[in-house]
Symmetry: C2
Subunit: 470 residues, 2 copies
Amino acid sequence: MTEHLVVIGGDAAGMSAASQARRRRGPDELRITAFEQGDFTSYSACGIPYWVGGQVPDRDSLIARTPAEHRERGIDLRLRTRVTEIDLDRRRVRSRRTDGDSGGGTSGDGGSGGPEEWTGFDQLVIATGAEPLRPPLPGFDAPGVHGVQTLEDGAALLATLRRDVRRAVVVGGGYIGVEMAEAMIQRGLQVTVVHRSAEPMATLDPDMGRLVRVAMEGMGIEVVPGAEAKEVLLNADGRPRAVLTTVGEHPADVVVLGLGVRPRTALARAAGLALGDSGGLRTDSSMRVEGAEGIWAGGDCVEVLNLVSGQHQHIALGTHANKHGLVIGTNIGGGRATFPGVVGTAVSKVCELEIARTGLREREATAAGLSFDRAVIEATSRAGYYPGAAPMTVKMIAERGSGRMLGLQIVGREGAAKRVDIGAVALTAGMTVDQVVSLDLGYAPPFSPVWDPVQVAARKLVSGRAVSGT
Amino acid sequence: MTEHLVVIGGDAAGMSAASQARRRRGPDELRITAFEQGDFTSYSACGIPYWVGGQVPDRDSLIARTPAEHRERGIDLRLRTRVTEIDLDRRRVRSRRTDGDSGGGTSGDGGSGGPEEWTGFDQLVIATGAEPLRPPLPGFDAPGVHGVQTLEDGAALLATLRRDVRRAVVVGGGYIGVEMAEAMIQRGLQVTVVHRSAEPMATLDPDMGRLVRVAMEGMGIEVVPGAEAKEVLLNADGRPRAVLTTVGEHPADVVVLGLGVRPRTALARAAGLALGDSGGLRTDSSMRVEGAEGIWAGGDCVEVLNLVSGQHQHIALGTHANKHGLVIGTNIGGGRATFPGVVGTAVSKVCELEIARTGLREREATAAGLSFDRAVIEATSRAGYYPGAAPMTVKMIAERGSGRMLGLQIVGREGAAKRVDIGAVALTAGMTVDQVVSLDLGYAPPFSPVWDPVQVAARKLVSGRAVSGT
């Protein structure tokens, strides 16, 4: 008998799941219907800052697989169609065409459109993604104030940038904030980043975030800490004139929002599915929604297990979404796959500055009830005598007593960011700092000092341990 | 009572051991004497190709710590002094000043010089390094035929390059061979690499070595496989005219030898210390020579345990030598440290081409009695749409049945080499390919596709397993 798989959400997690299930089970065995409220499938939202900045020439470059390509593979893809209800009892979803809607809004919030339709399912994949935080404050919905989550958002921002804009204010100092600061610099604008915390990149410890701020300032970016946005002040034409924050008024012709996202789970909540503390769906390691048979979830709408802290958290990243999709599609396709969890790895850059983290920040380690030691060292990306050797600062923390590595942060230039992978694998394996010192990492003068910077940090922790143990 | 530590060999392993021991025990507790037959200490032999190539401006850039710096730290350093005998029964070494010798020769082979002297020891570190293979064939000791192991070698080669030389033949297609090919290209010479195996870089599988050959040929380097050197043919002035191999005559004004090295263990052998099959000293994980109390060895003169194959092998690499020195110095200094072994990681480059390997080649896996599957994939260093995304080929092998990763090889452009660290850490942890697929690696478009190339290879092995398991 043919099973029916319904997928809600046509981006990374949803379409990876659909594709993988299709690869394993042909149309005779598995019918697949996917609902997507927008016009696009399988695109790289992470690439939007580089499209806006001009490093990526056009929108289509960001699309990994088009609707037509999915349809060719036997997936019944319904674009511009919003799922408005999940009926778990009767195993069906209600949907409505959104043609004629203002488009791109959040799902599950009603709105006008075409007639409603019910579609039954045997297996359901919830991949509704995340929605950007947009403060309900005056002026934040004006033209010229832009989120950057969807391709439509990117196109709208680019349209604004074609106007006579000179000064950009980026609200938020996290990954999206710093990447959009770079994009605005690339476009030749004068850039101010306003953010709430003491230092930008609050996913790093403040001492490392400080390095990011200093580097950004060196690039001519104005960084305003401790600034809570209050209002976007508008010109007579209804477009931005300035952003008003708790610390002042920051002139702006264009405003970019990088305030992070939250899981888009209104549909799932309404259906009675269990959500975690973060507001994301809680799944087991096979990506099955806890307590619900044949209901799967992945991507930015779920929360994930942090293997270092043992706690669940919400992390919206395309790389996780793709893995979730692979796992879900494999399992629906009759295989067995699991997503064991994350270690909190993230890399980013702002112009020449590379920023990376994995594992726990100090605050997270403390919250997880761990006591720890820290080491911060300076090193270079290549042998010091080799041309292009770039400085980097490496911070590592390790559990006191056991020496188990807990976290790694790197801020530097070329060659800094991907070094964090050493830490990501070591954290996954539960290695101690002594084990990290012994790792057989690639060494040659063009690629690394004879001790890799990550090992220099680990050595410092080991020698600290040795001293404190005496 | 003051103990006396004697170190034989003033480069990475020996002087790291001395420095680390000194850091932990002051001169009142530990007297340290180090013998070095040459003029230099603690230098980067791995950097010589870049000094010769001109990327590194001068010899002194390669010296990490000068003799004077070691002496300031209370190490009695005897330069130009060769140890000629280790007397284990009476715990003493015999040494002789080599001033006036032809210099730079192998140790333990007698020769004239100053008077002999005996020095007693409580602890002995043997760090005699490795000696380059130089075939006992006609012409190979002529001026204009150069090894590149010591700073003296580098200076001699540079002196030759200042003459009117146009054509270089590099004998050997391994790391030293390809790095010296790059150096000769940098110097504007016409370069031929002759080597015995079917493809260069025999530390890779032949299918990956082939990529290196094709890339080298694209750079204008002539690569001659299956060529066993027979003679260096000389001009009337006693300098090279051509290299004669089993496949022909290759015109050369300068000849560079990159035939690899073997452990320099004549002294240790004469003293009755046990050597492994590779000819290297065999130590336990604390770097103590097996069966000998208070005798330590590290660096290029020892063999190391390969954690993947479980077998011992000889790998001459500065990064291992430094770790050995740290471990030895820590243990002599009253701490506890171990060197658990290696996984066979090595990275190199030839011009823009990056070359990396870790774990076992197919041949090594077979020799270790393992059956395995292989995957070879093409990927890019960054998101495909991001500027500068460079192609790379990734090969992974995994044990059939268990799925345990066994080896990883990468050939590509910028961003290829250090990715091998992901494999190095995963191999150390004994991860399966499924676990590699799940790794939380750093992702952002400027740094990686959404699936890291290493994970793409692992995915292919996983799906092969899934298919073969059906």
